[in-house]
């Protein structure tokens, strides 16, 4: 099947057309302020016939949170009293963001114990009262977060039913849909999601109309990519925009891995200002550690482990003693670097001077110690690669990005340096290659480990197939079985996730 992948980055909007896993065409244009016209330009620049899916990776939702722009107010319903009163919803958020997002917060009696027993019964009359007030105040984006809701989702689900009944315009984010244990972090993730709902509605309908205008036809489906490198159907993306956070680095690493034909190894993306290192394990980026802040808000999102070093093609050269960066001319490379007639000595100038890089329309600058400068850059990059490695085994390194010339062909602990064709649009290729995921996370009773895990995988597979995965190629990528004491009948919470390519 032919697919178009688009990655909207801070600087460029990249596109790639793939037939199966073969790259047919790629395109790169500057990201526009409205985002949409850049996407349209990419779509216009690629051929249109027989496109089964358009997959978009975008930083818009992350940027909206970081810039505190285009966010809507949120109503919070916390289920957990009499505990937790001194740490209400929005506690710990940066004050400027909390002020924008805060609609009205309620805390009501309820919650679950770690072993699945109720902590307190849900106070339904308090939920009804909250629903009336949300409706009266015109607050439609509602977060419902209850203690230990991932163990037993029923109180959150019941509260959602009540709010929907008394406040029909409510768009509800239940916390158990977004997270793991850690009430504040899960509630925060739900809050970030809820404050993006209005923006998500308009962005996603704009994407859809852009596709319609191009005239792909009804056989073309539209997806966004999520932070774990898998596809998000547009209907889901409109409800859970927060799942698109940090999909950029994920797409870049997955694209590089696919282009390089590597399922386990390292990736370095050398841009204008930084070199970003990641590790690929079984074709997917290795995840970073527990708590991750997004726009200053603490969450438990699973985001790729990225090591960023201040070295790129635009890094300024400092002499006596020799130092590179961390300052960079960045996007101004083509006006400020020596080779482009500017006055700043950059790493790109050293590569042109040494004859390892040729760029049309540049002159060869006079830099007598260019070889020494490049050797220094290669040493810094080798150090970064070594820090990302998990064991002393040698692994391949895939080098992509405009500054990949700075990566030496041989370095210690690296079997080979792979420089794939189309490496400069690896992010769009990664988006095009995103697979469908399916998951389940629930309590199973009256069956042992093996039977429960088998049933969980079955449900996750059906979920993935319902979302468009090819049933014959679905693979299990995550299974977790947590026995729950105190509940009768051998209860266990099983979480499973499977992925497969689009059929």
């Amino acid at each position: 099947m032919r697919r178009i992948g688009i990655d909207v980055g801070g600087t460029n909007t990249d596109g790639a057309l793939l037939d199966g896993v073969e790259v047919v065409e790629t395109i790169k244009t500057p990201t526009t302020n409205d985002v949409l016209s850049g996407i349209q330009k990419v779509l216009e620049g690629l051929s249109h016939h027989d496109i089964g899916a358009v997959v978009i990776g975008t930083t818009q939702f992350t940027n909206a949170v970081v810039q505190r722009s285009q966010l809507n107010q949120v109503g919070f319903l916390r289920i957990g009293l009499p505990a937790g009163r001194s740490l209400p919803p929005l506690v710990g958020w940066p004050p400027d963001l909390a002020e924008v997002v805060r609609g009205k917060t309620f805390m009501v009696r309820g919650g679950i114990e770690y072993d699945g027993r109720p902590f307190e019964e849900l106070d339904e009359s308090a939920v009804i009262e909250a629903a009336h007030q949300f409706a009266d105040l015109g607050i439609n984006a509602i977060v419902i977060a209850g203690s230990f809701s991932p163990i037993d989702t029923r109180q959150e689900d019941r509260a959602a039913e009540i709010i929907a009944e008394y406040h029909p315009k409510a768009q509800i984010t239940v916390s158990h849909r977004l997270g793991q244990l850690g009430l504040l972090e899960r509630e925060n993730a739900a809050g970030l999601n809820a404050c993006l709902l209005e923006l998500a509605g308009s962005v996603i309908s704009a994407f859809a109309s852009a596709i319609d205008q191009i005239g792909f036809g009804s056989g073309t489906r539209l997806f966004l990519t999520q932070n774990n490198g898998t596809l998000l159907q547009v209907e889901e993306a409109a409800k859970y925009p927060v799942l698109t956070f940090a999909s950029g680095p994920t797409n870049s690493m997955r694209g590089a891995a696919a282009l390089g034909g590597v399922t386990d190894g390292l990736v370095v993306d050398v841009g204008g200002t930084t070199a970003d290192f990641g590790a690929i394990v079984s074709g997917y980026p290795r995840q970073a550690n527990a708590a991750v802040e997004v726009g200053g808000v603490r969450t438990l999102f699973q985001l790729p482990d990225v090591l960023s070093i201040g070295l790129g093609g635009g890094s300024q050269i400092h002499l006596n003693p020799l130092r590179l960066g961390p300052n960079s001319v960045g996007q101004r490379l083509t006006t400020e670097a020596l080779a482009f007639g500017g006055s700043v000595q950059t790493l790109t100038d050293a590569a042109i001077a040494a004859g390892i890089l040729k760029i049309d329309g540049t002159s060869r600058p006079d830099l007598p110690n260019a070889d020494e400068i490049l050797a220094h850059a290669a040493t810094i990059i080798a150090g970064g690669a070594d820090r990302m490695k998990l064991s002393s085994n040698e692994v391949p390194l895939i080098a992509v990005g405009g500054g990949a010339f700075a990566v030496s062909d041989t370095m210690q602990g690296i079997t080979e340096v792979v420089r794939p064709r189309y490496g400069d649009t690896a992010n769009a290729i990664g988006a095009a290659l995103a697979e469908v995921s399916g998951g389940v996370d629930r309590v199973f009773q009256g069956m042992g480990h093996d039977a429960a895990v088998a049933e969980a995988i079955q449900i996750a597979t059906e979920d993935a197939v319902a979302s468009g995965a090819d049933p014959s190629l679905v693979e299990v990528i995550e299974v977790e079985d947590l026995p729950i004491a105190y509940l009768p009948g051998d209860a266990r919470r099983v979480r499973a996730r499977v992925v497969g390519p689009l059929k």
Binding site: G80, S86, L87, Y114, F119, E120, S147, F148, E185, D305
Partner: protein
């Protein structure tokens, strides 16, 4: 010397207490957030040196028992910690002059601040562990043979209990642990009250200001773009014993405790060497190859190699780049009575204690 703690001290305490948690004690994040909310209302915290206590002063000793995971879902209310001190006062029929921490390592370092804020009492610059330990009887007060009873306990629903008598410290741990688990694995406790004389003789003095100082050194090193790990080692008189990356963490929950092993591969000057770290809530034993290089009661601190932030046994993950630091335990914990409570054999290891600092 009495001093008041400002917002920066509170932030520094969070960083320093987590380092002294030696992997356990729970990340102080939520209690820190609680105290930040209280401090934002203008509440002052007074820290007094234990030497300034009158011998007959009454000191409340506080900590919360339970599972860190439950604390992350239940979100403890600071008023519960104040309430448990009040319950103890009601039982004794007298009032307290000050509050102190049982455990300076991890989230319990903030408990005296949470109580003091609502009770208007000063905080004693001391604790009874000098770090974090997995069980409630592993204290300097137990080592000193002081009376283990009574103990007051309150859960977030309002279940209130006083254990009026027990034959041994171990029985106090067992009965209070059973109550804690039954009420949902999080309960604020006020331990056996101590006189000023007892705190001066048996408390780990100045441990709270030590934790604040560690946090301050990390903050200053980061601001100056210097190495926070080196700054911590200097401030703590600790020894950097290994740098590497985590290549495996094997965790299992048994008997209500988190146990397991973390494996590290050496980096830089330790390249080619391997360390295994055993834990039961806290880091207990470090082995370089077959050789034991550090054990309890000495402090084994695993730090993020770049930021200097402490890494807990619950959150250690493969791929993290880490520095391993050892700190010599206070002499009291190395005495025969001390080792009986907190030495390697008390934790189930047939080993002599090994000091990581030569």
């Amino acid at each position: 010397m009495t001093r008041s703690l400002d917002a920066t001290d509170v932030d520094d305490l969070a960083v320093g207490a987590w380092i002294l948690g030696t992997g356990g004690g729970g990340n102080p994040y939520l209690n820190h957030l609680n105290v930040q909310q209280i401090a934002a209302t203008g509440t002052q915290f007074e820290l007094i040196d234990p030497q300034e206590l009158d011998d007959d002063a009454q000191v409340a000793v506080v900590s919360t028992m339970g599972a860190p995971l439950v604390m992350q879902e239940r979100l403890q209310d600071a008023r519960d910690v104040a309430r448990v001190v009040e319950i103890m006062g009601e039982y004794l029929g007298s009032s307290f002059d000050a509050v102190m921490a049982t455990e300076i390592g991890g989230s319990n370092a903030f408990q005296p601040l949470m109580a003091a804020a609502h009770l208007g009492l000063p905080i004693v610059d001391a604790d009874a562990m000098g770090r974090a330990y997995p069980e409630a009887q592993m204290t300097s007060f137990a080592i000193g043979g002081l009376q283990p009873w009574p103990l007051a306990l309150v859960d977030p629903r309002g279940v209130e209990a006083v254990i009026t008598n027990v034959p041994t410290w171990k029985w106090m741990e067992r009965t209070s642990r059973a109550l804690t688990i039954e009420t949902g694995s999080m309960a604020a406790t006020c331990k056996a009250p101590r006189s000023g004389a007892e705190v001066k003789r048996w408390g780990v003095a100045n441990s709270m200001s030590f934790a604040i100082q560690l946090g301050a050194r990390v903050r200053e090193a980061r601001a100056a773009h210097e190495d926070p790990v080196a700054a911590i080692c200097v401030a703590a008189e600790g020894e950097l014993i290994f740098t590497g990356k985590i290549i495996d963490v094997d965790r299992r929950t048994t008997g209500g405790f988190l146990r397991g092993t973390a494996k590290l591969d050496g980096l830089d000057e330790y390249s080619g060497y391997h360390v295994e770290l055993d834990f039961q809530n806290e880091w207990l034993v470090a082995r370089l190859g077959d050789r034991v290089i550090a054990t309890v009661p000495h402090l084994i601190c695993l730090l993020d190699a770049t930021s200097g932030e402490a890494i807990g046994t619950e959150t250690a993950r493969y791929g993290q780049r880490v520095a391993l630091m050892g700190i010599t335990a206070p002499p009291l914990f190395l005495s025969p009575a001390g080792l009986n409570y907190v030495g390697p054999r008390a934790m189930g290891y047939d080993l002599e204690p090994v000091d990581p600092c030569p």
